[in-house]
């Protein structure tokens, strides 16, 4: 005869997964307007604009984003 049972560890794992999925859901809903990646990107773009050589490599002059 087979006995169905759920070990405590399995239930805990399920609970942790559900909690993390809820956290992920709220993270998606309440995401920031300006996050870490965009701040990092802003620094990178400003460093490119500061350097004439980098501006040339990235085509900033051609696009008109930086005035020559």
């Amino acid at each position: 005869m087979h006995t169905l049972y759920y070990p405590k560890e399995a239930n805990m794992k399920k609970l942790v997964i559900i909690l993390l999925l809820v956290l992920l859901f709220f993270s998606l809903i309440g995401r920031r307007e300006e996050g870490d990646f965009s701040k990092i990107n802003a620094v990178l773009v400003s460093k490119i604009a500061e350097s004439p050589a980098a501006s040339e490599v990235f085509g900033l002059y051609e696009s008109g984003a930086v005035e020559t």
């Binding site: 794992k13 942790v16 997964i17 993390l20 999925l21 956290l23 992920l24 993270s27 998606l28 309440g30 995401r31 920031r32 307007e33 300006e34 996050g35 870490d36 990646f37 965009s38 701040k39 990092i40 990107n41 802003a42 620094v43 990178l44 773009v45 490119i48 490599v57 990235f58 085509g59 900033l60 051609e62 696009s63 984003a65």
Partner: protein
Amino acid sequence: MRVRWSTGFILFLAVIVFQNELSYTLTFMSAACLHEAGHLLCLKALNIKKPELSLGLCGAVIKADTSSLSYRSEILVFISGAAVNLLASFTALIVLRSGFNTRLVFFFFANLFYAGLNILPLKNFDGGRCLECILLLITDPFKVDRIMNKVYFIGSAVLLFITVYGMQVFGFNLTLVLVAVWAVFQCIPSKPCCLSAS
């Protein structure tokens, strides 16, 4: 192909998504996907069957039975991920030259970051494994082991320096703190277990 994921991966994803806009997160994830796709395509080309993709707290790891491969073929597998990232960066640069776009700049640097990080000579990293295979082609395994222990120590120090320097340049934020913690975690010696890390 079998895909496994852990609760750590959801936690990692939740923190990254919470700290960043979705478009930037997706751009960063696309660089990671391109990296792993490079490895998987190379394994497929070398006729390696049933690779397993594990998604965990420290990123994605591919597990495959590469015992039939020569050292030269293994080197090819290890560099394929970074090669795809470099190709993506180069393509982004060509597109940037025809029309500047700040999001594309992020894609360029995300791919460059992924390629650069993975070719660092660290334990469980593509660079470390690649260097190990190159050394095994020219010298005996015991000597390689001694050399690699020293290389891993120096590589870990370089990674920590890059992380701390990056935090100073870009400002202290949670994403970079996570990267720093992860860098420290990578410095802890562990058993070699898989094909590719991060």
